[in-house]
Point group: C2
Chain length 427, copies 2
């Protein structure tokens, strides 16, 4: 189940939404059976885009941010999910070491405070350890609400990681490890390190994730007897491109061209008037915002402005991925909006909208200037409705988002299994 | 964790409450470890009494009612817990057969509707089957909100129970089975029958439950280094009494006398000014309300009015239990109130107050004339509080209730293990 949150969706329930709502028992059973085989990541956030004619995940983060955008009313749900997750992993847990990202924005600090709150209320002693090797003594982090958190130097022993007088059973990472896993986190065979090191962006690739997503979406679509494209962003090729070198760009151009051709046929098949477009995104999760480019014509890949954008900041080479662009047709106060769904373990614990007043529906919203609108629980409609199905008095339009987000979370489970460097040892 | 609900508690946080709040990580860890050994009942409600100097469970129901008193905001929490419970028991579940009590009060129907809603939102097809063997065709139950539920005749095959064209994986009982388990429910070895038949009041005894509770409370009190009496209603003897026969009454009188003596010493030890009292309650859960009697003196057991009360309605014999009376010092709008905590699987999913304007703090409130006040989520206090512990800005006074209720739930798990007639086959 998925909390009943208010969405910005207007208009009648479309065919896809109706099909998902009607198939709830079959869908929930399918998720339960999949989870028996595949362990969900510890926590996940998924960016979705609802184009009306299709709904698809466009980003799956395994070191999620933005939990501060969950409303206070949703906190018990997050805590209950955290309890279930901890109970499964390490029932004897007392201490949780949280390793935050090296980010000191007030948004991030509020998120960090929320994480500490969730795991404290789940019954754990939570302390923060810093990946900064130069940190010699605890440092105070002043939070937006005037309170403080202490960030402490990590203490590494041979096989365990902790803090001074603090030996955790579980180490929870909230840093994306974009630069690869630091030595201090390697070889921790006596503790649970969550998510695992190979979930870091130093190893992960979006192309690999969406390959798993396609596999999951195909299975799911077969269950419901529908076209998987309605819930999948079609993914093209990926290539390493270098500044001033046309080679990788040519591969991307060919891929974008082929993808646009496929999309035109799909749009024709479904009678979609909108012209399809593709996006170019960093395969390794880097450069969110600045690095996502909308292309309506593969030839645009040659544009000097695009090259300048990709290599801004002095990057010499980048791994880029071509993917179907999914426009978002949701609006909050006239600003373009896309839902972000937050999950802990297998549970949807809430969501929020990322909105950007200065962007178009076909553009990336995770860019400077974006704002966040928490999704509140829907007001319940208690009007008597004769003959209404029990529990269904007001359809939960957020349910659909929870289903697609959970498909992306399940895809991440497939992905992490496929990319696990220690996979042999599990046999 | 326990949702943060508004309690009627006023006054400063007392020592017991402070100790429980401070020991949260140790408490939650202890519960997790206990749960590894002992399976929580499927759902439970626990009546508590907060006397200020002590807080104790006075009734643990394994076929709970009153889920309609949970607020709508708490529904996602209940659904999440139901999902976790179902996933553990029968991940391939699609169909749930709910067997309600033979009760058609509007309160009960609203509770039933809520149960259907919870399990429907957890992703199950839920249908209702009747224990009434004379029911030949589906009967409509008109709900207070104008909608309907269908109550259908049970269809028993050799080893399975279902309805016409409905084969459930799990059968959920909400009838207390006070008259013993009907044959239609016996020998269902291919399905999950929850709670098990020996949880019915035809088999269960309060004396046995509180014996388990004492065991659990002792372990828990040892963990916190406190006197278990602060969370335990002291339980005396139980006896079968017959109308017009003094024999059983004499045993009860001796027990009540001894118990009052012990309680006087306890009150002296703690400097409690209130005079202790004991209650006489039906050991087999029968006659709730009419059958709970407050005694300040063991000699009162001879009072003819009491005998008349016990055997009202023509009962020839009753099994009675003597137990410490725990006064409730909570009030809602001047009416005496006691909290009821609702749980699904291991999770506290909400609570409500049972209030009775016409009763005294030392009387039973589960009597005609009682009303119910849902406990709402506490408003969150966002005032900056420098130096406040993260997550602790406003202490969750409902936490304490959740802890004691979970102790009673755990005691029920111990109790069901001890009374399981098929226990050998589990070895």
């Amino acid at each position: 189940m998925v909390p009943h949150l208010i969405t910005a969706l207007t208009g009648p329930i479309n065919e896809l939404e109706a099909r998902l709502l009607d198939s709830m028992p079959a869908i929930e059973r399918w998720f339960r059976l999949e989870r028996m085989e595949h362990t969900p990541p510890f926590y996940t956030s998924v960016d979705l885009r609802n184009a009306g004619f299709k709904l698809a995940p466009v980003d799956t983060e395994l070191f999620p941010h933005g939990f501060d955008h969950l409303t206070e009313e949703m906190l018990p749900l997050a805590v209950q999910a955290a309890m279930a997750a901890i109970e499964k992993i390490c029932p004897e847990a007392k201490n949780l070491l949280l390793i935050p990202a090296a980010c000191s924005s007030s948004f991030y600090l509020a998120h960090l405070q929320r994480l500490v709150q969730i795991f404290t209320l789940a019954g754990l002693n939570v302390r923060l350890g810093s990946l900064d090797p130069t940190l010699a003594a605890p440092r105070k982090l002043l939070l937006p609400d005037g309170t403080e958190l202490a960030l402490e130097p990590l203490v590494r022993r041979r096989r365990r990681l902790g803090l001074l007088n603090f030996d955790p059973c579980t180490v929870l990472l909230n840093d994306t490890l974009a630069g690869g896993a630091p030595p201090v986190l390697r070889g921790l065979y006596e503790q649970y390190l969550l998510p695992p090191l190979h979930a870091g962006w130093g190893v992960r690739r979006k192309s690999r994730h969406f390959q798993s997503y396609e596999e999951v979406a195909k299975k799911f679509a077969k269950l419901l007897g529908m076209d998987p494209w309605l819930i999948t962003p079609m993914t093209g090729g990926h290539a390493r491109v270098e500044a001033g070198d046309g080679h990788g760009f040519e591969a991307l151009r060919a891929s974008a061209d082929a993808l646009l051709g496929k999309l035109r046929r799909k749009h024709k098949e479904y009678g979609i008037a909108d012209k399809p477009y593709v996006v170019l995104k960093a395969d390794d999760g880097s450069g969110v915002g600045e690095g996502v480019v909308t292309l309506r014509d593969a030839a645009d890949l040659a544009a000097p402005a695009l090259h300048a954008q990709l290599f801004a900041g002095g990057a010499g080479a980048r791994e880029m991925l071509v993917q179907e662009g999914v426009p978002t047709h949701e609006r909050i106060n006239d600003a373009v909006a896309e839902p972000v769904v937050c999950m802990i373990d297998r549970y949807v614990v809430g969501g929020y909208y990322r909105v950007h007043a200065g962007r178009r529906p076909d553009e990336n919203l995770a860019a400077p200037g974006s704002a966040f609108v928490p999704l509140a629980f829907a007001e319940c409609h208690h009007l008597p409705r004769r003959g209404a199905k029990p529990g269904a008095s007001a359809p939960n339009r957020f349910y659909m988002y929870g289903v697609i987000a959970r498909l992306a979370m399940l895809a991440a489970a497939y992905e992490l299994e496929a990319t696990d460097p220690d996979a042999e040892s599990y046999e």
